[in-house]
Symmetry: C2
Subunit: 356 residues, 2 copies
């Protein structure tokens, strides 16, 4: 890579934040919706319609025209949807939900990425919300974060859990441990999707999750099949399970803590017992242009969500599993055709067996 | 453009902010400098050196490795500079100055782009600095903005003014009006670079600029050749000049105000008098991949700097000049070989003659 090419790439990076916000703002202002309803509006008419000066409308639409998202007719000054007109509404909604999360939960906070990495704490979350803890804890307290996150989580959950349970076999009557199962909704789903005589799902999490989890079990009528055990995931996980589920968070811990969690999972199983991990995973070839996880997750996790952790490649997880008394037996990724082109996370299911 | 390609492009936009901050943070943390001094450090040694956990070092360097900026040896776990090692220090410094400005003056503020466009005011500057006015006004009051802007301005000034004055002929003894010349340093430079018997440069700006401008004239020993006139640029510009200079701000006004400023310039000249405008200009083909101004300036100006204005193409300026009694006679751009690949602004000099 020549110095010239390197500096040109820096320029691409420099316009990353402005490109993002310019695109999102065209949606927020309602410019895209107006053009969908009324193709051929001029900047003056669009400005009137959304309450913005025509000069600003023209400026913000320049990038949309440059990208081919919107078309502009020089002669008449009329705008209409180009590529944006062809994208299905559900696809746009999903992409906008993710962009909304980036805006609310990340854009300002990542200003403090360097300080967050230095201190191992989310300095941005502290500065803007006076909050100590993770983004997910903050979502429980701050409505704007909860809204931006919830919209996304809802869309993602349907998308991910359906596929996850399709690929998960749980033998009849299994005793399942849902490790760090939070509010218990994952345990409930596990019971419902895999119900069999004697199947029991135990949600293990911090004691303060107990009340909400038990309430959810009752409200969903599964209190006979799901239970809660509270404690510290590093030290208090009980034994006596056939299968341990680790869903959605292994990437949020540094190596030492991942190993402790895997050790806890190991202690919960007999030799031959199963561990199933659902997590986003870096591609083996990190230059894969279809995978943008490396471009996103370090700043998301370290600067905005947890101040620690990070995705790993499968070989890293394999070696960590072996170090923890497991053998990785199978890795299942989604069919690429089922992953929307705007999706950043690429989740895998890793199946492992306790060997020692 | 297919819906799939459009959504994939959205993903590129979504990773824009994180990419930017991840790259900058690698410099801020000192990772790049350490690798320059000590090629072959592992994540553990790098982490020790800069006071950061090795897990975080690994995560932040993933993107550098993906881009080919940094090399990683799987066997030994050693990092070394790849493409970044080949970039001259002065080039890196210039790019980092720009990135620093984006971080301090834009990254948080652009969260409020939509509100800024709706209200015609810089909502982000108000929220984060409790400041009413432009980014340039705020730089006078807030040290972090001044520092991030000043570092950039210094690098840019040398770069731009040398070229500007090389291309500017000022006949001996001319009476020059430096319209909105601010602190007078541009007037001083004009006098120095183009000195001739009888050459006089008048800085016209708001009355509150008078003291600083006159002090600068005295300190540079040009008080006999440079003077200050205070007033409103829309209404109070005096007549009697041979040449009017408009440097660096025409893009910061909406159309109506640009026309008023051009009218003021017109009133300052006799027919045949010269107007010289220095401004960044959009390319005629807005899809030109070597030009990133459209990706940057709308959000910069509307969300972060002025809450109005925007770059235009040359034909737009030509028509606005004609509407204001000028004929555009010549447009000079920098030799592309003299524009660094990381540079976003592309400035042009537009020469016009008063026709009516």
């Amino acid at each position: 890579m020549t110095p010239e090419a390197t500096l040109a790439r820096f320029r691409e990076y420099m316009v990353g934040p402005t490109r993002f916000m310019n695109l999102l703002s065209c949606f927020e202002l309602g410019l895209v919706d107006r053009l969908r309803d009324n193709p051929g509006l001029t900047a003056v008419k669009l400005g009137d319609a959304v309450g913005v000066k025509p000069d600003a409308v023209e400026q913000l639409l320049q990038l949309m025209v440059k990208e081919g998202f919107v078309a502009y007719d020089e002669g008449s000054g009329a705008y209409s949807l180009a590529a944006l007109g062809g994208v299905a509404e559900a696809d746009l909604e999903r992409a906008l939900a993710f962009m909304g999360m980036i805006k609310v939960a990340m854009l300002r906070q990542m200003f403090y990425l360097t300080e967050s990495v230095r201190t191992g704490s989310l300095v941005g979350l502290k500065k803007f919300y006076d909050f100590d803890g993770t983004l997910f804890d903050a979502a429980a307290v701050h409505e704007d974060i909860r809204d931006s996150w919830g919209r996304l989580a809802q869309l993602e959950t349907g998308n991910v859990y359906g596929w996850f349970f399709q690929n998960l076999d749980i033998p009849a009557g299994s005793r399942v441990l849902d490790l760090l199962g939070g509010n218990g909704l994952g345990s409930i789903m596990t019971y419902r999707m895999k119900a069999s005589p004697g199947l029991h799902v135990t949600n293990f999490d911090a004691p303060e999750k107990e009340a909400e989890s038990l309430r959810n079990f009752r409200e969903h009528g599964v209190e006979e099949h799901c239970s809660f055990v509270g404690g510290d995931v590093f030290t208090d996980v009980p034994a006596g399970f056939d299968l341990v589920l680790i869903k959605h968070y292994l990437d949020m811990y540094d190596r030492d803590d991942v190993l402790k969690i895997l050790k806890s999972a190991n202690g919960a199983l007999e030799v031959g017992g199963q561990l199933v991990i659902l997590a986003p995973v870096y591609p083996e070839d990190i230059t894969d242009p279809d995978d943008s996880q490396i471009d996103f997750f370090p700043t998301f996790l370290l600067g905005c969500a947890t101040a620690q952790g990070g995705l790993q490649k499968v070989p890293t997880y394999r070696s960590w599993l072996e170090e923890s008394g497991f053998a990785l037996t199978r890795v299942v990724g989604k069919d690429p055709a089922d992953i929307p082109p705007d999706a950043i996370p690429k989740r895998f299911i890793m199946f492992a067996t306790k060997t020692a």
